[in-house]
């Protein structure tokens, strides 16, 4: 669900120096132009493969890490129904990671390598999950507004050119629709509730507004725009286009609940459909992506713990014939 609209694109700035066979490249581009999908055993340019692995892998990591800030609220969810729903939702996210890792694996990167790259910090995940969920309302904001942003991103990307990624995204989008309704239900319950509940959800919205604006990445005018990735249908829409689409849909839904968005300058230009907002501190965005966020250390530490402490289970399942032997002394 949490494909950050933002692709880390340090490498995109450098043109590929590998020369591709012009005939194969022309065939490949003609296929994409004709709206056909690329399958794993098709010829593809090295750079296409590399960027897809990077993007799908980051998407998968985001699902795994994104489960943590919400997962922490399962034990404290208010009531049995909320607990069941949140468990199902978090399980879905882990399932999405599985689907996405599988799609990335078809491009030739083994799953173990992707896990190692996540845990060493080499590979990134959606920036929003480096922020904490101090209250139940924060968890609900993720379920509603972060999932909503992810859906905008995923619906667009499901029209991309790589078959396995599109298939995974279609299934993911289908499941996400439940998350969106669940999140909305949770927020509406708080926003139409007691003064204390309203205060709780308003405070959470204020904490999350900046990360929400960050979600789709820096504005187009500052971000590197790769014409080639658009042509190859790896990247399907610009950061600003996705953000505008998101704001147009969700700002009215937030406002109808009487919640106040903490940005007096937020407004839509009805003629162009584009939104203006006050500076959400893009320096902070880059600081957090590069490790200096409130929860970066915790998120990775927890995943490392899980991977390391799951090792004996994996080994036991692999070699069921290994018998437990009582120590000699």
């Amino acid at each position: 669900m949490y494909g950050g609209g933002y692709i880390q694109d340090d490498d995109i700035k450098q043109p590929s120096n590998g020369q591709e066979d012009p005939r194969l490249l022309a065939e490949f581009e003609a296929r994409i132009n004709a709206g056909e999908k690329i399958e794993p055993d098709d010829w593809m340019p090295a750079e296409y493969r590399k960027q897809l692995i990077r993007m799908i892998e980051q998407h998968a990591h985001s699902e795994i890490i994104g489960a943590l800030p919400e997962g922490t609220w399962i034990t404290r969810a208010p009531g049995f129904k909320r607990k069941m729903a949140l468990m199902a939702k978090v399980q879905d996210e882990i399932g999405h990671a599985q689907l996405l890792y599988s799609a990335a694996e078809t491009l030739g990167k083994p799953r173990e390598e992707m896990i190692n790259d996540l845990l060493s910090g080499k590979s990134k995940y959606s920036n929003v999950f480096n922020y904490p969920t101090p209250t139940w309302a924060d968890s609900c904001i993720i379920t509603w507004l972060i999932d909503a942003a992810a859906i905008v991103n995923q619906v667009i990307n499901s029209k991309g050119s790589y078959g396995p990624y599109c298939r995974a995204l279609e299934r993911i989008c289908y499941e996400e629709s439940f998350h969106l309704k669940l999140g909305h239900d949770c927020i509406v319950e708080l926003a139409t509730g007691t003064p204390a509940q309203r205060k709780l959800v308003q405070a959470a919205l204020e904490r999350w507004w900046k990360p929400i604006i960050h979600f789709f990445g820096p504005p187009d005018k500052t971000s590197v725009h790769s014409e080639k990735l658009m042509r190859w249908k790896v990247k399907m829409a610009s950061n600003d286009d996705m953000r505008n689409q998101y704001l147009s849909t969700y700002v009215p839904k937030i406002k109808e609940l009487g919640l106040v968005i903490p940005d007096p300058d937020l407004k839509k230009d009805e003629a162009t459909g584009s939104w203006t907002y006050s500076d959400p501190d893009w320096d902070e965005f880059f600081r957090v992506i590069n490790g200096d966020g409130p929860c970066n250390e915790e998120r990775l530490a927890v995943r490392k713990w899980a991977e390391d402490n799951g090792k004996w289970v994996r080994n036991a399942l692999q070699k069921a014939s290994d018998k437990y032997v009582v120590p000699l002394a």
Binding site: D41, G95, Q98, E105, E112, E175, E298, W305, L317
Partner: protein, 122 residues
């Protein structure tokens, strides 16, 4: 590091001693899902598992936890044989295949003409 979650604060968090090794997460299995009795089993994706039994258990969790399901099949990915997708032009035999379709056979006009002719003869 202090977490908001007391359970995390109780964990013994350490740097990794060893990276996850190749194949530690097991080989892959292709999963086929059958929605209901009478329906086809349809390929839905893969799982990683060390044995067919566990592949079925993981597939049940991954692909059977939400929608109606009657059965699941798994088969080791390495046991599946395919053509190359790029060779799809081998399926293009003759462009005109109406002789294989029900719609390729229209007789009503002929019958009507025949009837009309016979009526005139009488």
């Amino acid at each position: 590091m202090v977490s908001l979650d007391p359970r995390i604060n109780r964990l013994d968090l350490q740097e990794r001693k060893e990276e996850t090794q190749p194949h530690e997460h097991w080989p892959t299995w292709e999963v086929f899902h059958q929605k209901k009795r009478g329906a086809q089993a349809i390929h839905v994706g893969i799982v990683h598992a060390p044995s067919p039994e566990l592949a079925l258990i993981f597939a049940k969790e991954q692909f059977g936890r939400r929608q109606k399901s009657t059965n699941i099949w798994v088969v080791k990915s390495s046991e599946v044989f395919t053509f190359q997708t790029g060779d799809e032009d081998m399926f293009e035999t003759t462009p005109e295949k109406s002789y294989r379709d029900a719609g390729g056979y229209r007789v009503r006009d002929k019958i009507n003409a025949f009837k009309k002719e016979n009526q005139q003869d009488q």
